[in-house]
Symmetry: C2
Subunit: 459 residues, 2 copies
């Protein structure tokens, strides 16, 4: 049986890549309002794809923002488990276009066999791998899929899934499932898959400090009025101490120590990441007392994502600017509450502001808590087994530093745990320039995901 | 005689304003390379104007950057003093166009009688006042001007006059003069002229801190790599202490105490500026131990003119950015050396940089030292007299916080002192939006400047 699945996936692989390229061409940047119609176009692509599968019912779910697409195939019958596959068809902004080797929305396969395009890894290429696994069961064999399958591909993940929780509430019955599967994370190393025990949460805000009500001549006024850049940098600098510990009062209140068994396992993996420093041309630095993987996986952070103020053009413009602003996000670990942390950061910034200036905040619209799955959950054993079959190695046990709001939402609203099946390179440049996905991974990944749908029935 | 000068200026005032509007329409922004032809156009306007004056020889002087225009009328004869009038035909960038009440290069007179346009005050409107005074002597009376007149209007003042010093060296003989007159400063208060004893100098640099060689996903990497915004803000915050004293080692080495007579005079004037806080919607704050005017006129500063790093668009982009940069300028007081201060700031920033990151510097191309004129110079008495004649009040004794590189250059290269004759409102929005010049000032200013050319002969 599984041979025929492999055969189907191999024989249709080239056509599948062409299909994937179609959706990669759509600049579905959810955070930029002028790309709203593109996010509709990428939803349409998903709906059309799902409608091409036998006996699959498809719905497009509008939201106040960008639409999600839902599909279901229930042919396995009520005595078989139901798996919910989740992904997102929206993408991050491109950043500086001049940094890309080729235009981000003109996908190509480079000389190393990599599909280079915005969204190739995060997440179009990876949810496509899961869809291909379902397609193989529905089109490649006659008995259909061993499990019932529901599919939810949303369009607002890169802006924090602001409407997804309400959608899950509203469609709770339709989305009912025994387990969720999400492919939106990387391998541990190329060819070395990983089983992930959870993700970090996220919250954040934008802070704007306003001094004089207009830009002033730095000769006429300099030295005698508050300089918003000087005041804001002083405030931001006060958010970490010399040990790179976050100084926001109460920030670590609910943070638990990292379990000893994980510290031991990760200490071995940590050696692998020391190469990063060379590849990134910078040091690996962070909170005192923790190694790199601990800092990424089970320690909360306060990061500056952007800062702006004063003259931005070439040359000089000798002003005391009217304002300066910064975008801040915090990654959260188990038991930290996004709203609570956001409020604490805001309150601390207020205490740090000097007299004579004004502060404005734009809170990040939605946050999400951290997510953790029981390390002994049987689905993790099933995932480990199929990875080993296809990749020939036992997957390592890790966590993810990224935030996937859908995971805590699936748990709290649908009562379902989630297995994270990663397929991209850990240095796939998600959110950066030259994002890529190994083209061969589309086939290997689909073979693995198809096996998982079979294995989970026995688990 | 002076009545006929006044008569000429009054009867030609409307035509003069139309002529001034012609040059205000030219967007001669010297710091922006795509406006280079506009700076040539504004030079052409000046040359054409000067060529219209009787017996006046005009030359356009090219530079590696933007051209300067030179004119001379030597009809007063060798036994009379020679006055050099200096100004600049280039302007600052407009900044955010949406902040302007009307397009910055479409001059108009508003309901308050103000000419609103970029360059109306700084400096097209003000050098035009001086040219009008010369025009009145050459066209309004038959005997010509009481003094010989040389005129130099350059095109690179707003980028720090990088080629002017060499031009002064090369043209030293042609520019030989007994005194320079510059109108590029404001009145103390509207209707209350000021005699200025000098200007601050300037130096600066742009600092760029580079962490990872590309933007990284703040979930995957956050907490484990240097965040350039965090590191740069920490470094910038360390450049001032809690008393708002600059912490750069040696920064104040050559700074002398403010003379007691000036402290006493300025203490009275300082009350006038307390209204600023209300108009600017911010506090008046600065270095401990000094009042607002002392901070602006005889204390050095280190100001941040711009800061940039990470995501600049709407919404959020959860990255650890690759780099962050800041534009810094220092205003200097007598005896501080621009190169020395620049080197000290650079060296201190280097010591503040953490390991694991790279620093890059773009030094400000040219700096200039502070300038001071002897408070007992006879030209100051002449200026005070003519101001009192036209404005009906005795001018106050001040300094300027701004930097005019030409003043120390005139002194060191031509051996000439400079009288600063201000004519714009102190809140004329130079370098900001809605820059303006009172249209009536064009007439009052020209009457004053014309009297000065007569008075200086007797001085």
């Amino acid at each position: 049986m599984i041979d025929r699945i492999d055969q189907y996936l191999t024989s249709t692989h080239d056509a599948a890549l062409r299909s994937l390229f179609d959706v990669l061409r759509i600049p579905s940047i959810s955070t930029q309002p002028d790309h709203a119609t593109d996010v509709i176009a990428s939803a349409d692509w998903v709906a059309t794809y799902l409608e091409s599968l036998p006996d699959t019912r498809v719905e497009t779910w509008p939201t106040p923002g960008h639409p999600a697409v839902f599909g279901e195939w229930l042919g396995a019958g009520p005595d078989r488990p139901t798996i919910l596959i989740y992904g997102h068809h929206d993408v991050q902004p491109t950043g500086d276009l001049s940094k890309w080797s080729s235009p981000p929305f003109e996908p190509r396969i480079d000389s190393g066999g990599r599909i280079v395009a915005r969204g190739s890894a995060d997440n179009k290429g990876l949810f496509f791998i899961q869809l291909r696994a379902v397609e193989a069961w529905l089109k490649g064999v006659t008995d259909g899929c061993p499990v019932n399958v529901k599919i939810l591909i949303e369009g607002e993940e890169e802006i924090g899934s602001p409407n997804l929780a309400r959608l899950l509430e509203e469609k709770r019955d339709q989305l009912k499932c025994d387990l969720a599967v999400v492919s939106d994370t990387p391998h541990w190393r190329p060819g070395r898959p990983a089983i992930s025990l959870g993700t970090r949460g996220i919250t954040g805000l934008e802070v704007k400090l306003i001094g004089p009500n207009r830009d002033l001549h730095s000769g006429m006024y300099g030295g005698s009025v508050p300089n918003p850049i000087a005041e804001l940098t002083r405030m931001l600098a006060a958010l970490h101490d010399a040990r790179k510990t976050v100084t926001v009062p109460g920030f670590y209140d609910r943070v638990k120590p990292i379990p000893n068994d994980l510290r031991e396992e990760w200490a071995k993996l940590d050696r692998d990441v020391q190469d990063d420093a060379r590849k990134l041309d910078c040091g690996l630095v962070g909170e005192d007392g923790f190694n790199t993987l601990e800092r990424r996986w089970l320690r909360p952070t306060l990061e500056f994502n952007g800062i702006t103020g004063g003259y931005q053009g070439p040359g000089s413009n000798t002003i005391v600017p009217s304002w300066a602003s910064a975008k801040i996000t915090c990654r959260l670990v188990p038991d930290q509450d996004p709203d609570d942390v956001q409020a604490k950061v805001k309150r601390y910034l207020e205490t740090l502001a000097p007299p004579g200036v004004k502060l404005e905040f734009i809170p990040r619209r939605v946050g999400c808590p951290s997510y953790s799955i029981d390390p002994n959950h049987p689905a993790l054993a099933a995932a480990a087994k199929v990875y080993e079959e296809v990749y020939g190695v036992h997957p390592v046990r890790i966590r993810e530093g990224v935030s996937l709001p859908i995971l805590p939402a699936f748990k709290s609203i649908l009562g379902a745990d989630t297995v994270l099946m990663g397929f991209c390179d850990p240095e796939c440049n998600a959110h950066s320039f030259d994002e890529f996905l190994d083209a061969g991974e589309v086939l290997r990944g689909a073979r693995t995901a198809a096996r998982f749908l079979n294995e989970i029935v026995r688990g």
